[in-house]
Amino acid sequence: MAKRIEASNVSSYYGSFKAIDSISMTVEPKTITALIGPSGCGKSTFLRSINRMHEVLPNARIEGRLTIDEQNIYDPDVDVTAVRRLIGMVFQRPNPFPTMSIYENVVAGLKLNGVKKKSALDDAAEQSLKSANLWNEVKDRLNRPGAGLSGGQQQRLCIARTIAVEPQVVLMDEPCSALDPISTLAIEDLMFKLKDRFTIIIVTHNMQQAARVSDKTGFFSIDKTGDPGRLIEYDDTQKIFSNPTQKKTEDYITGRFG
């Protein structure tokens, strides 16, 4: 079950530095939302706030409300690990667990959360690897180390690992920035496929990618270095890329700025 995410006035801090300033946006279930904007404007910080990964860093804190199907994930009685099971994340650089094989990497989330049945794990591994378009390439070497794969394969392995735990929302932080065009295409195809089951939010520097894959696009920007990032415009991707209402958005997507 994909879920709706609603942010209202979310501000994130690193110590006394305010990284993003009262972001409000609603992400509908089973859609792909792209976050674009220049470097350092808080896209990743906002993304990391959605599954409470922001607070892993020392001195990081957050203000405002972030709800997933009406439940505020920052309520004091919320279990962080439960939130992260609902909201999975794929990182910029592929980070397969180096001590584990391909198979163990895919089922790591299940296994470490207490699933022991071999048949269930085998099924989950096969399904997830198939969903991630990786099954055909690795089915004969599932017990080889995950770190031995190519960069694009590693990233798809990390996606398989993320969807193996059946989250409702998948966050992607520039998942293709370290990949070649063919692997990028494979991952974009994959996102279309996953859209039927998950809500996807993707941070990207590649505007063509945002235009290609997303239903809605949010444009983040900062006035000058040291200022907090703001959400300038958030609308249908069609509208943002053809007829944005804000001058800043138009400047950015036409390449006149940033």
Partner: protein
């Protein structure tokens, strides 16, 4: 305008000729032989030393000669490269020499008493005129004491390091880290004295009808005091090398922090942790003073580490080396060889275990 045209006129990035002359191996060896001959003629002719000085002086002359000859043939840059390379190789050989010498001395002198009697008997009832006598009791003592010390220090040290890396924030962690650093510098005799005054004199009388008593366990305690800081520091360094994104990757799957540490972070750092632990164990196995102070040493076999005097291999070496009997030095050498072999076997076994757990590329 091409890139080349924009180069600064004074800086020539594109050499006209990419070929250079190379110094042949024959010329290289020729320089070495000449250097040795000159050095031999000089040293032996003047009568200022023996073959050691010939080699040392010859080596220095070879470096200078190589720098000169290569400079004439290959040019300055290549010659300097050659000289540095020779220096680094020399440093490597110089570092290996003492090690090889130690191993050779141990093996050549220790092989004399390498017999069944040495490994099967103790020093009980062995007088100054007896040729036999063995280190069975000392081997038992070393294995038991180091084993118990490792059982105490390894879990404490590894858990302490995990605290410092994964949980420790602020003043308390800083204090812990500072005291671990201070503990690293504790001389082993001080650790022995601490256990003597605390365990042997104060605690052990409670178990022993009011009489203070030496025991192998007291030695284990002293050794674990010595091992603890080494293990904490080396494990800490290894855990810090585990990249943050790995932890985040596990968190993003909804894995709780303790499980992330146990199943992701520690296994990734395991080979390094094992190396640090083995270094600590090797150091503890070679300690003499604490064992002498709190286990007392013994000539007879004592299997019980909690009761009565025990010996250890290091202590055995110390005692036999200072013994008046003419058969004692041979026993000391063989015991030293045994100690080194035990540590070596343990290290190799631990490394193989650690490697089996992590996948090979």
């Amino acid at each position: 305008m091409s890139l080349l045209d924009r180069e600064l006129s004074g800086v020539v990035m594109t050499p006209d000729n990419i070929r250079t002359k190379k110094l042949s191996l024959v010329a290289n060896l020729g320089v070495a032989v000449a250097a040795l001959l000159v050095s031999a003629a000089l040293v032996l002719g003047l009568g200022i030393g023996n073959w050691v000085l010939v080699v040392v002086l010859g080596w220095a002359l070879y470096l200078v000669g190589l720098l000169y000859v290569a400079g004439r043939v290959e040019g300055r840059r290549a010659a300097r490269n050659r000289a540095w390379k020779s220096l680094i190789y020399s440093a490597c050989i110089l570092a290996i020499l003492p090690l090889a010498s130690v191993v050779w001395t141990l093996v050549s002198k220790g092989v004399g008493r390498l017999d069944g009697d040495f490994f099967g008997t103790s020093m009980n009832n062995i007088g100054a005129r007896d040729q036999n006598g063995g280190a069975y009791h000392a081997i038992i003592g070393t294995l038991e004491q180091v084993g118990i010390a490792a059982l105490i220090a390894v879990p404490l040290g590894v858990l302490g390091a995990i605290y410092l890396v994964e949980y420790g924030r602020g003043k308390f962690a800083g204090t812990v880290r500072f005291f671990v650093d201070v503990m690293t510098g504790i001389p082993s005799i001080v650790a022995g004295l601490f256990i003597l005054s605390f365990w042997v004199l104060i605690v052990s009388p409670w178990f022993n009808d009011g009489q203070p008593r030496f025991s192998g366990f007291a030695a284990s305690l002293a050794l674990s005091v010595l091992m603890l800081p080494t293990i904490v520091r080396s494990t800490e360094e290894m855990l810090r090398l585990v990249p943050g994104p790995l932890r985040e990757g596990a968190y993003a799957l909804g894995v709780p922090q303790w499980k992330t540490i146990l199943k992701i972070v520690v296994p990734t750092a395991l080979p390094g942790i094992v190396t640090g632990v083995m270094l600590a164990i090797a150091r503890a196995a070679g300690e003499t003073a604490p064992v002498l102070l709190v286990a007392g040493g013994a000539a007879a076999i004592n299997f019980d580490p909690f009761n009565g005097n025990q010996s250890s291999l290091a202590l055995y070496v110390y005692q036999q080396a200072g013994d008046a009997s003419k058969y004692a030095p041979a026993r000391a050498w063989t015991a030293a060889l045994t100690l080194v072999t035990i540590v070596l076997i343990l290290t190799i076994a631990a490394k193989m275990l650690a490697r089996r757990n992590s996948l090979t590329r």
